[in-house]
Symmetry: D2
Subunit: 148 residues, 4 copies
């Protein structure tokens, strides 16, 4: 990884945000593998850190408002295990109105363990859809054009 990258929030290159996530006891269940719902937590970390790196505020200071997940089509392919160092990849697919489409995957050494198509929407403090701000469009454009 090149110097100067903010590792605590992952990094952006090639139009993709990548975040490393370690698997701890808390993430596993009695099968020995990561509990299925926890991949959604890992993906939320990826989305949050991607928006953070883009300079976008995720949420209103308190109460409702901010990004919410509307739809998530999840494909659980292979189990992750404790101590695994996973990579969460986040790709923007489309943005329109209050809505954005992303593809997220969780990988271990290049092997895709989990894949999801995510639709998120921006809400105002009354919980109504709110047009994505121009700075988000600009930021995602710069992400999509990011070089390796």
């Amino acid at each position: 990884m090149p110097d100067g990258r903010d590792r605590t929030s992952g990094y952006i290159a090639d139009g993709v945000h990548r975040l490393q996530v370690r698997v701890y006891y808390e993430d596993t269940d009695m099968s020995g593998a990561v509990y299925h719902a926890n991949y959604l937590r890992f993906c939320e970390r990826g989305r949050s850190d991607c928006l953070r790196l883009l300079g976008i505020k995720l949420h209103e200071p308190s109460g409702p408002g901010g990004f919410v997940v509307r739809r998530m089509a999840c494909d659980f392919r292979k189990p992750a295990a404790i101590d695994d160092l996973l990579t969460v990849e986040t790709r923007f697919r489309e943005m329109a109105g209050a809505r954005m489409e992303l593809q997220q995957s969780v990988l271990r050494e290049g092997d895709t363990l989990f894949l999801a198509d995510v639709t998120a929407a921006l809400l105002d403090r009354q919980g109504r859809p709110k047009r994505l701000p121009p700075e988000l469009h600009a930021a995602v454009k710069s992400l999509l054009e990011s070089k390796p």
Copy 2:
């Protein structure tokens, strides 16, 4: 609810398993609503209790083996809030080979807050697909024919 129903594991009627789930602090996030990944935990409780009522063992005594979620298409429709008493409904759609398809929804007073199409598979202790046992087919048949 008629007497004699085992309430701690919900109940089966009309071909549907229903389980009541209370929303606690642990389930919410700073938006004030239920954190999105927690609907998957609620659905797992519904599936587990449904199979328990049907007399089906969910898992091998230890280690891998048992039912795993392969795919889950999630539709987050409306927010649930603390103190809400939710109902998780589980419906069997199809069973073939090692695989079963279910539809699950989370409702509050008849209003659907969350909806998911779930594909689960049965694995043996080596993590390989394992044909669904005849007693599961028989149990689901009896569920589908259950009267109100």
Copy 3:
């Protein structure tokens, strides 16, 4: 259990609140037992349902305010496992100013698996300690005098 008890929130008898909690996959970790931090979630469910049965509001409608845990001395005695039907017992020990002391335990068929001394405090919406309301004192008094 006598008729008429509200089972979804447990019940009060003998000066003790008791709530049944089922162990699901989500609660376990790769050791095969319940993940240690999850006993704190079970205890929060017990406290919340006890206050609910006493007619006490747990929290402000949104944002800060409500009961927070200040101290919790936890004793993890024996492991709980999937499918276990646990009982969370909540006892009030002392109330003074903005503070209340409780003892909570998690049992399986009479066997204590987890024990905690809990100090909770009531906060106002600015996050400052707030004197416990007279109706809470009255409600806890009635709990302590509850008959079997």
Copy 4:
């Protein structure tokens, strides 16, 4: 931070292990702050990464066995909020037989938000206490003598 430190598992200096932990939506509750039980998850990450850096295996390949928490005295001092970058500090206090005593704290910019005294024990695969191995004693000795 000096070059060469393995940041994904934190680092050891001055006899202390330090790990950075970001607060995400998943960690908060409707009060707007971190849900109290989640500090125990953060501490487990600190302990796991500390032992990892010391070259100690945390757990048996599957099933029971490994380190378990026996007691944890928790002091919840100040709330952490979303986006906070926290530091988990882990200090070894004492080791004897199958048992070790640690002190762990969670800080934000030098301010202690959470403090815990932790007793952990090593178990064998039958769940019985197992003497701490000599390599752990040696590793902790080297940690305690680590220079800034």
